[in-house]
Amino acid sequence: MTVSFTLNGKSTTVDVPLGRSLFDFLRGSGIFSVKFGSDKGEAGCDTVLINGRAFNASLVLMHSVAGKEVETLESLVEDGKLHPLQQSFLDAGAMQSGYTAPGMIMSIIALLRENPYPTEEDIRDALAGNLDRETGYVKPVQAVMDYLASRCIELVEMKNTNKNSC
């Protein structure tokens, strides 16, 4: 089966067997940020974005991504520079082994696109499908809150600068 879609901004056409999951395809292509968590696909360490929303790649068959835009954690780093959310995860120490960090970060990226000002409840809801056994979710949630706070400060500063320039 031939499937054409966009992977991390690049249009891609691949020939895959029927019944192949997006997870298998991505790992087979060297996209290792998606991780195996469970046979039933419920662990969430395989979170990717499809047309901007978060999905578990293990539960998505390749034919379903035809014509769509798939993004993985690999797309976040630009010119060797971390996405500010990744930086927040680093600064907050939001990982122990880090095995589940990519999935959590992608779930939050999706949340921020639909809602730039989420509450803690929204953050936890977005992370509910990202099972983790190491952090108690304390520092990952903190990392997102820190990120939001720093962005608010940035916005205020931007506003102030604009005022000054007026």
Binding site: L18, G19, K40, E42, R53, F55, V60, D125, A128, G129
Partner: protein
């Protein structure tokens, strides 16, 4: 990888789609249940995503949900229509993973008929209508659907949701509920639906005027007949949970 899949068909029309169903062939919309189980007896997927709408429209008449709409979209829309309704908010517990709610379709959730799905309990208690395509489209009550055909549309009437309640009991919030009970009041009638880790839903209608304590008890006993002993508790305990749920809802309704 789901190695037993030998064919994926994209039918041109619903007419075409329904002729394709046979042993080993399944309609495929969101696919979360199917792909999680990867049943090796399934060899053909009939992908109906292009044939069913995923739009949700809200009008005076009610809420109309294309069966292809995902659970998350349904919950977001329904909550915006009835922002204070605990029952609708609880629908998200049918699947605590937002990622999976993004993918799972309303039609699939109904077709799966999972007894401990809050979405199902919601649709049953509000007595939603389903539009089903068999050889033509027809609209029936969700309670009357026999599982045949393709669900294309679900509709319910927010006006009916003036007084609704839900009780759910699960070991931790994210875990599928052991007992889910929902109730609505419409005029002088109370309607309850009970689901959970059980073999079937139960439904119960009670005229408020004739309310007597033992009627709730009788209903709880009847509903508990659908439950079984397991590590979450005995049938007797679940009967008690159902009764407590009904009593609590009755007080609020």
């Amino acid at each position: 990888m789901w190695p037993s899949i030998k064919e994926i068909i994209f039918p041109e029309s619903l007419d075409h789609a329904v002729t394709l169903i046979e042993n080993g062939a399944e309609f495929f919309a969101g696919g979360t249940y199917l792909v999680a189980d990867r049943d090796s007896s399934i060899h053909t997927l009939i992908d109906i995503n292009k044939l069913i709408s995923n739009d949700i429209t809200v009008s005076y008449g009610g809420v109309e949900i294309g069966a292809g709409a995902d659970l998350q979209k349904f919950i977001d829309t329904a909550v915006s229509v009835n922002p204070d309704c605990r029952l609708i908010k609880a629908a998200k517990w049918s699947c605590s993973s937002k990622n999976i709610r993004n993918q799972r379709t309303m039609g699939g959730e109904i077709a799966k008929r999972r007894i401990n799905s809050e979405v199902m309990v919601f649709l049953l208690v509000v007595n939603a209508d389903l539009t089903i395509f068999t050889d033509k489209e027809k609209t029936i009550s969700i309670r009357d659907w026999n599982g045949k055909g393709i669900i294309t549309k679900i509709s319910y009437y927010p006006a009916r949701l003036e007084s609704v309640e839900i009780q759910r009991y699960s070991v931790i919030p994210s875990a599928p509920a052991v007992v889910i009970a929902a109730g609505v009041r419409k005029g002088n009638m109370l309607t309850f639906t009970v689901g959970g880790k059980a073999i079937d839903f139960s439904r119960f209608v009670l005229p408020i005027k004739k309310y007597e304590e033992n009627r709730l008890e009788n209903f709880a006993t009847k509903a508990a007949g659908n439950f079984f002993n397991d590590h979450y508790g005995s049938v007797d305990y679940k009967r008690h949970l159902i009764y407590t749920a009904l009593k609590r809802m009755k007080e609020k309704l």
